[in-house]
């Protein structure tokens, strides 16, 4: 079928894309380059960094009050949570009767204290109880989402900006929470903003 898509064996793909060149290149990458490629940075030269966007620190809670200059009054989590004992019976948003009621929560069967550190609400906790700072939140995500993390490490998840070639420039990568709301991590639905405006191309007239 010309129009259907057929799966290819991975081995074929590798063979089809210069299997022979792989070896020679891997040598070229560990040894000084031959003279005709002097315009390239040598492989032994330091690679540029891959930086991952990070939150500055623990989030601040919006109180709804305004400062004299009109800015929002925000407070740290610990402002309240040092005086209130943790309630292990609160498992979902519905159980919260005083604060955080508006939070949309849809993240499997985890409860608040699976991730929030009851001993220090300005940090997070791993499954083994150890403490994680907010800027290192990805460590927390990765403990459940191993395959995603692995793909992320290899550039197959999360996207990037900057240089594909680190010998020429740096790269920036998104943090998990840039795209996924930790409380409702499903990637949001969106409206396409850009459509082809081809002449004579209409919506299909019949349902497929």
């Amino acid at each position: 079928m010309l129009t259907t898509v057929t799966a290819a064996a991975i081995s074929y793909l590798l063979l089809g894309n210069g299997h022979g060149a792989d070896d020679s290149l891997s040598t070229a990458r560990t040894e000084p380059r031959p003279s005709e490629t002097t315009d390239l940075p040598s492989v032994v030269s330091p690679k540029f960094a891959v930086s991952i966007r990070k939150p500055q620190g623990p989030p601040r809670v919006i109180t709804g009050l305004k400062n004299a200059d009109g800015t929002e009054v925000t407070i740290a989590c610990v402002t309240c949570h040092t005086t209130r004992p943790p309630n292990h019976n609160n498992r979902t948003v519905k159980d919260l009767d005083e604060f955080h009621g508006g939070t949309v929560f849809s993240h499997g069967s985890v409860s608040c204290l699976s991730c929030h550190n009851e001993r220090d609400y300005d940090t997070l906790r791993l499954a083994d109880g150890s403490r994680v700072e907010f800027p290192d939140v990805m460590k927390l995500c990765a403990q459940c989402h191993g395959p995603q993390m692995k793909a992320y490490e290899h550039g197959a998840h999360g996207g990037m900006n900057g240089y594909w070639d680190l010998t020429r420039g740096p790269r920036t990568k998104n943090n998990c929470i840039d795209c996924h709301n930790p409380h409702a991590p499903q990637f949001p639905k969106m409206r396409p903003t850009f459509k082809p405006k081809d002449r004579f191309l209409e919506q299909p007239r019949t349902k497929h």
Binding site: D165, F187, R191, P192, K197
Partner: protein, 324 residues
Amino acid sequence: MIADDNSSPERQADTDKDWFLPVVDQPSTRRTALKTAGAALGLAAFGKAISPLWSIPENVSVDEFLQQHYKELSDNDKQKVFQRLEAEAKDAYGAEVTISDPKPIPGVRFGYAINLSKCNGNGACMEACNRENNHHRGVDQSYIRVLEMSKGSMDMEHGTTTYDHTVPQDDKFYMPVQCQQCENPPCVSACPIEATWQEDDGIVVVDYNWCIGCRYCEAACPYHARRFNWEQPEIPTDEVNPDQGYLSNRIRPQGVMEKCHFCLHRTREGRAPACLEACSTGARVFGDLNAPDSDINWVLKNKRVFVLKEELGTQPNFFYFFDS
């Protein structure tokens, strides 16, 4: 009868004289005069009919007309051509642009992969392509088309590009298609004048100043990857991307073919393609197929990858995969 219009020298003289003194009772010479008048009238009408062609010398300079194929230009020639094109961009679009000509990075072979489990069809890649590559704004041209396909089917006949609703729909997946940069590109074989060819890094490029616009390559491409400039592209001055490559995103002339070039003016300097940076779902993976530890090779080794229309033997350097 047959010799009526045979021009013996005497006859010729007669004919000339008739221009001034038509003699009615000399049918053969009168006929010649009438014919001459008819021919003159015809030529004048022809000149009038094709008068719109006089716009060609206005738009096409002698240098442009005589410009040689890209591969035959010396570095010196190229500098002159680039300067001319920069001046033309200034003239026609009011934009200060720089035209560069980055060469393939030795030893690099580009590959691109898209994760169809991630792509949600929001079209940001198309928009980025449009902006980056100085596409015609009037038709929102782009090198990418995103197909909305039914889950459980790879039949493009059940796909559509004109969907206009919130994405992703639960029963759909989204498949962007752009130039697959084939190892065995049918478009390159089709071109009668070598105006399109494959470079050492696998990118198939077009010399927009050599293409004659026969569109045979467009018929030959199985992926709808090629575009024709049906009219001169319109781009507002402040939207012109000034960072331009001769073989990539410089403003194309009317009447020539163009296609995705993996943003070679960016990627040959190590940067990511514009569509990858724009992708908000992180579905796109780009890199060097010849570097064993590149991201693209990790995908090829660890994901179940497929190519479009494999049975055609085009051997794309563009791959698709799903998360399992």
